[in-house]
Symmetry: D2
Subunit: 344 residues, 4 copies
């Protein structure tokens, strides 16, 4: 297979290169850019010397149409203008940005403060959460890869909501992310001296992933209520933890929650339900496509605390995109992304 | 004033030395130890060369009784055995451990898994949260200095609970701490290679600060319900953020919450209510005795998110202890602890 | 005393505010800016709410001339244009930038790639290394505050060079700095995700502090030879370590080196010569004005390894500037900057 | 191939598991322990749930003799007692500890302060630096895998020394390592709160890797002189940088040094000679088996600064061990270890 990456300089793009490079079915990776045509990629990123020394190409339809799959790793908004002309042009498309995730254009415009893509493209896009939408992904030509926070939140909560074990009307989700989630563009918010040794909160109630989570909860678990969702910045590069709080319904026990999660993900190799551990952390999935989930019920308040961790750059972006590609091509889901976490 | 510190090798003790050293009313600081009598303190901690080159003393009643104030910075359980003989022996006592905070010995034994101190001492101890208990502190001979998490949580929630602006029956408190909160004793949980670049959750629903928070909410704000409380470990040394979630009562607005907080802390120099900022982080109070509070209401869910940050070693331990000492002696509360945060 | 800071938004400026705020002789701190006149400083830096809520002023001669001391914390080049009109206008001037440190304008232009200031101003400036130039500082109207690396290097090597205990003709200096040395302006080189968990080397043989170190070695220790000097970036915010390597002369012993250092700094409160410790680190001086020095001789190679650590923002910038101000005004050198390191 | 790891709980062992798991020729990995027989490995290390859920085995000769290769990832000293009985018992042996690297037992005892292994075993061991000792490795039954620092130092300096381009009699090597080099056992020196935001120096002139480097310089490059070598601890988990300083011989130019390095490593896939970059850092090789080398000559001093970076856990330990195993079995050197660095 020959694949292309548009926007390879971003962190999603870099991680696609890292993972695709060792994917046994990938024969060639072409990088495309609108602003740096001709630049040798390894001159920009010396960690890729001897690995990817080719120049970046211009985004030309005739070149791209010969590829099997094209990944978009461009910022929100940019995808809306670059992607549509390529729909139906040949290659399967996987978009890592947020532009095509929300089916309702009004919602997109409200939360992203940008013009939404045309309806015809929104309709064609398939939400690429493999553990919940595999059938549609198998047949999709155009996939909207989920956001990093939604991936962590949905994998842990959808089973419990769908099975009516927890009360979806009072969800509180406290999410934390490493700094790579902010991308590769320098800013005061990601300046080392102000970010290091600093745990901060941002976009309180205002993160654009909120409508994406709500749309998926509605679609996959019939949960229509709004969520309370906040996001924090952790002084580390990779990793997301979502700590979610919900009342359990009726007499539901911790064991029932665990069983529900285990049954749901029995045949899903990337989701691990952990029990009997005192501590769960983002490093358990560092560099890998795993999502680890843990749940505890507080008998004093009858509230469940549900924890999930992912590597935001892998399962929250590039790894999940490749998982989707694997499914589209009928390959084993884990092909090329079965690497083990770097715990240390 | 002459002061003593028992358990100076711990991080609470080190921070007491740092702050007391520049306190204008302190003339002498004696360090006491049960296990390292005679050790020159600056040989153990070379950052104190030329600053504290005296040996550590044995815990002798005649020596201690000549001091004005004695701080206990010993682990939970140790204080229970060391402190009682000194009550009434002369110096005022300030305990930074948790042993004398819970008035109900059964609760202590349940949450700490240790024998509680005798009732007579529990009765004598005064909970040292200056912004809420100043009168009692002024007259106290024996102060139980609050825990780090309770300080952050209570300062931000007590005003809103007391004024019935938020619903205390559904509180969710998601707390995050730097690693110094775990103390100076090495363990796997604080081993650099496994802690760095790792955000983890621990003691889910089981932290011993839960009953302390509930006791104070009951006492100061007439809020009797149990809380949902979890604690996370952030890969940084200092700092606590508590992110709390509560339904607002009736038609209460964000502005009312802000006003309530501002009015409550109008004359309290260490509590700052911040508005109109996009990002709030622990580094804003690094190394200082400040507690910064921020509140936002989500109109979609009618839920308030209340954020507070402190330096766990200062306002969450040594700084607050000195604030209590200042109040006991009728000094200005800020004496010796008015230093500015190290933002970078 | 009334002081002003030009360029307060930078890290040198922020640290001046932090330290001057608790300086007992400072009654007022005015902040000046060319680009943000009128901005309330604490709105830009919320850690200063309730501490410095005044607006920034325009750089007006009549305002500035009423002050006692003005600190320049502006980037190299900017000082050259802003400072000269204020020489002789009333206040004493202390420049934290590099513009006036090199007496030879050709050298400045070669290493800084900018136009040098006029000779008359270069001649008036006094190099503000208090431990070596106190007499000149006492009478100076205009001080060029040393660079961060030169401070660490010179304090540790000058005594040994001056006393001909080590061979100055073969010096190798391997310097390492925290990221705050790069200032507050975001860039790829200081972007958290690429800086964290990354130890890098930069400006090999090309750092502009090289001629400053050589000029001072020549002046204070009669050592005329060029040095080999490289700089590394450490994934931490504050701190510099300089590890220097030199052949010892003749039969000189480790003890002689230690004695020389101890004698040199006997009456200098901010320099500590440490012996008998296994490990020396930047955190031993974190947030303080100390410079710690350690020396070991390798009998196998007859070479001395000389280590010095400082907090680059304090002794390497703002703290040293205040030390200079204290000396200019006949105050005790340590006034306002005697705070203890934050070891944790 | 079936392989075994003795001492799998250590960081070398964990990394062997991570890399071997994706090695296409490895069919089975058995873990052995002397102290935790029967413990399910993934219960100890939850990041390996679903990946390695087998129990650890006791170190039984009959079990081990059926394996193809056995890796020792035990502490120095332990290997000396565990390994000898297995020599000749069937499997090829690769020792990641230092016990069998020094051919001279007296040297081992002097630097390690432990009893040296018997001469017969020292004689059988082959130093596993593949780029310099491939022939011997191909035929070896028992490999002493190089230390982390020696790997970084030797790869960068051996070509220049062997070709007499630099003066080996005045070498200064300033080495820096992430904290994982200290292993998985908690101690004050690796306690997060004291290690984070702290750059420190340790074992000045006393590191046990000194004689290993000198032995190899003598053997492979005919350089007999002692080196000056110091080691620093960087607040990060993985990565080593060695910055080496040497006078260039005669009229040797920077280009000659670069050419020599490029020619030496032309056919060695894991060594990259980088030119024309402003910054070189450990993250360029993070998680990979690469060693990046950079050299600059300072015309002012006629001294070369030679920089090399490796991931201490990969090329400095487990990755190099697998590279050796590949060579022993006639596989392509890069089999299973061709993964790309995680730059972010």
């Amino acid at each position: 297979m020959k694949v292309g990456i548009i926007g390879a300089s971003g962190y999603g793009g870099l991680e696609l290169i890292r993972l695709l490079h060792n994917h046994p079915e990938i024969e060639k990776i072409d990088l495309f850019t609108s602003s740096e045509v001709g630049t040798i990629f390894s001159e920009k990123y010396p960690h890729l010397v001897n690995i990817h020394d080719q120049p970046m190409h211009e985004i030309a339809q005739d070149h791209i149409s010969k590829l099997d799959t094209v990944f978009f790793s461009t910022p929100a908004g940019v995808t809306t203008s670059l992607l549509p002309p390529l729909v139906g042009a040949g290659p399967k498309l996987i978009d890592l940005a947020g532009d095509f995730r929300l089916k309702d254009p009004a919602l997109y415009e409200q939360w992203y403060q940008k013009d939404a893509p045309a309806n015809e493209f929104l309709e064609k896009s398939v939400y690429g959460l493999p553990e919940w939408n595999k059938k549609a992904i198998q047949e999709a030509e155009f996939i909207a890869n989920p956001g990093c926070y939604p991936t962590a939140v949905l994998l842990s909560l959808l089973p419990l909501l769908k099975n009516k074990l927890i009360d979806g009307s009072q969800l509180v989700i406290d999410a934390k992310s490493g700094v790579s989630g902010a991308g590769n563009k320098p800013s005061q918010a990601t300046h080392f001296s102000e970010t290091n040794e600093n745990f901060s909160i941002y976009k309180i109630h205002q993160h654009q992933h909120i409508p994406e989570i709500e749309q998926a909860m509605n679609l996959f678990a019939d949960q229509p209520d709004p969520i309370t969702f906040t996001t924090h910045l952790v002084p580390m590069t990779r990793g997301i933890m979502a700590t979610s709080y919900a009342k359990v319904n009726g007499q539901v026990t911790e064991q029932q929650l665990v069983d529900c999660l285990k049954e749901t993900y029995e045949n899903h190799p990337f989701v691990r339900v952990l029990t009997d551990i005192q501590k769960i952390g983002t490093k358990q999935v560092y560099g890998s496509n795993y999502c680890d989930i843990h749940v505890k019920v507080d008998p004093r308040t009858n509230r469940a605390t549900i924890i999930s961790v992912i590597d935001n750059v892998v399962k929250g972006a590039a790894g999940q995109a490749i998982q989707n590609m694997n499914i589209q091509y009928g390959l084993d889901e884990t092909t090329g992304i079965a690497n083990i976490p770097l715990f240390i």
